[in-house]
């Protein structure tokens, strides 16, 4: 099936070469990071995780959101999602690969990566994160590829794929739960020390992931002339709506607990993010933009006539995606570190090399996604769906 990735229009090749160029630039910066150290980033003793780990967190959510297609299709027999379920699974594949790359670029000693396997440590949440992420990657490659191949040959997928599909459902939930557990189990970080972190991560994932998939469906329709289908897109739009509302609700629960209890260790981080603390507040405009985007998108999405208009839906999906990206990809991680455990405000701003490496990892993800989608669309068009 992969041979379909080697035949494409000029635009297809230009896109791939452009992605490779971006990866090349980022790789150059990464070589610099390898020789100099993580000091080329904006991270510090006080904000010891930055952009890389934040993108990792955000993308785990995008990966987990594939389950929002798998559940209707395989559990509720919503046949229409047959056109797009593989797209969701392959988006998960590309996202998990990006997650793993973000972990690797964040390591101070990446050549010692396999120490995690050589010295397995079940009391560390990072150990479990490694297991669930790699397992999820493996599951989605196996499921997506075999289901697609069966479709190509016009036969039902092999029997052994079925149990894997059922396993993949709780597994998807697990990847974002364990990722939240990385943060919410740490005693000294009040911002993350909340039982609602995992549910909130999942809610934002089930909004941002399908929103991105809707945008991808528009792109595929425009450039590859494969239509995911109007009904399918509308169903996804409803999933996005529920996810976005749940996310805002969970966030407000968080805000209530922090502000009504007035426990300084919990309020200080929110205060820093939304109002600034001790004269520092680089993230303040970003956080309010995020809130505005999410609320505006929810308003557009809950009005049926607006949601059914695909142009409006596209705008709402961009707003949701960007809003949640700011929340998780910018505020969530550095917000937990500021103020630091000794209540000093030491801010964090990513550097140019750090951003270049980040963009390169995204480009690598898009490269994988493009190739996988090329194969999917090729097969789908062949069987005349």
């Amino acid at each position: 099936m992969l041979e379909r990735a080697f035949k494409g229009s000029k635009g297809y090749w230009v896109w791939l070469v452009a992605l490779l160029a971006v990866i090349g630039v980022g790789f150059g910066f990464y070589l610099r990071q390898l020789t100099f150290g993580l000091g080329i980033t904006g991270m510090s003793r006080d904000v010891s995780w930055g952009f890389y780990i934040a993108q990792f967190t955000f993308l785990v959510g995008v990966a987990a959101s594939a389950v929002m297609l798998v559940i209707p299709y395989y559990l509720h027999d919503y046949k229409k999602f047959g056109r797009i379920t593989v797209l969701g699974e392959f988006l998960a594949v590309a996202s998990v690969i990006m997650c793993l790359l973000f972990i690797i670029v964040d390591l101070g000693q990446p050549m010692r990566l396999f120490n995690v396997l050589i010295h397995p440590t079940p009391n560390s949440m990072l150990f479990w994160d490694m297991i669930v992420l790699n397992g999820y990657l493996f599951l989605n490659i196996l499921i997506g590829w075999n289901v697609l191949e069966a479709e190509k040959n016009s036969v039902p997928p092999p029997q052994w794929v079925k149990p894997l599909i059922y396993i993949s459902i709780p597994w998807a939930i697990s990847i974002h739960t364990v990722t939240a557990f990385l943060y919410c189990g740490l005693p000294g970080r009040g911002f993350w020390l909340t039982a609602i972190l995992a549910p909130r991560f999942l809610a934002s994932a089930f909004a941002a992931g399908p929103a991105f998939l809707i945008l991808l469906a528009f792109i595929v329709r425009r450039f590859a002339r494969y239509d995911a289908g109007r009904d399918q897109i509308q169903t996804m739009a409803k999933i996005v709506t529920y996810g976005a509302i749940a996310n805002v609700f969970f966030f407000l629960c968080e805000v209530f607990v922090a502000l009504y209890s007035q426990i300084p260790g919990h309020t200080a981080h929110l205060q820093y993010l939304f109002f600034g603390l001790h004269g520092h507040g680089v993230l303040v405009p970003w956080m309010w933009t995020s809130i505005f985007l999410m609320l505006a998108a929810i308003i557009l999405l809950v009005i049926p006539s607006a949601r059914r208009n695909e142009a409006v839906l596209g705008v709402a999906c961009v707003a949701i995606f960007v809003g949640i990206w700011i929340d998780k990809g910018l505020g969530m991680i550095s917000g937990g570190f500021i103020p630091n455990p000794l209540h000093h405000v030491k801010e964090y701003v990513p550097t140019i090399p750090e951003i270049a490496i980040t963009v390169a990892v995204y480009a690598a993800g898009f490269l994988i996604l493009t190739i996988l989608y090329k194969v999917v669309v090729g097969v789908k068009q062949e069987v005349g769906e």
Binding site: G37, L38, R45, L107, L117, L186, G188
Partner: protein, 263 residues
Amino acid sequence: MDDTRRSFLKFAGISALGLGSVSTLASLMPGSATASDESSAPHYKETKKALTAKRWGMVIDTRKLTPRLCEKMIEACHKAHNVPDHDNERHTVKWIWTDEFEHIFPMKQNEYLAERLKGLPIVSLCNQCNNPPCVQACPTKATFQREDGIVMMDFHRCIGCRFCMAACPYGSRSFNFRDPRPAIEEENDDFPTRMRGVVEKCNFCAERLAEGKMPACVEVSEGALVFGDLEDPNSEIRKVLRENYVIQRKQNLGTNPSVYYII
């Protein structure tokens, strides 16, 4: 402690059976398998003069602290352990440093703080928690707890994920954001220098205890720091604890620090 070590060894053995090739690889890696896997032997080779304890602890008497004395302690420690002095604040590495009362004890500040404590530098170092969150977080056991309570780092095993830094509620850990060696003024050959990309922190001078010496900061502290065995009722530190009211940092988090403060 003994039990967890033993069960870890069992676990390692079982995984070695399953991952034959990986464990072979492990045995080939210098320092990785030998450093902290040895169940009961301390990290440093013990000599006859070695100071030993069931659980090492420290009492910091803030009444005896002065800016000059704190400087001396910091200098002694950072010299003994080849702690680099970087220009860029973001790259700072520190094992022991000073801060004000309201930052060392953020939960205990109040508007009517005693005059004496205002602006007084108070020393801060790794609390050598008896229930260390950093050890729990480390995915490679590069940070581990010895039987005498000391929480140590294996610089050769650390992958630089910095999970321990997020886990530490005291900001006691530093990461080598760049090669520390050029920033070491005068290298001490008795202690290893580190490389970029690994985490480090105070080790209660485990290497000095093995040679029968008190920790470097304690040695120059003019009695402001009392160091000893918390589980020996006849030790000097227990005498000090009996006679004074002491506090621990962020006691409510359940980490049970082995460093106590007399205010």
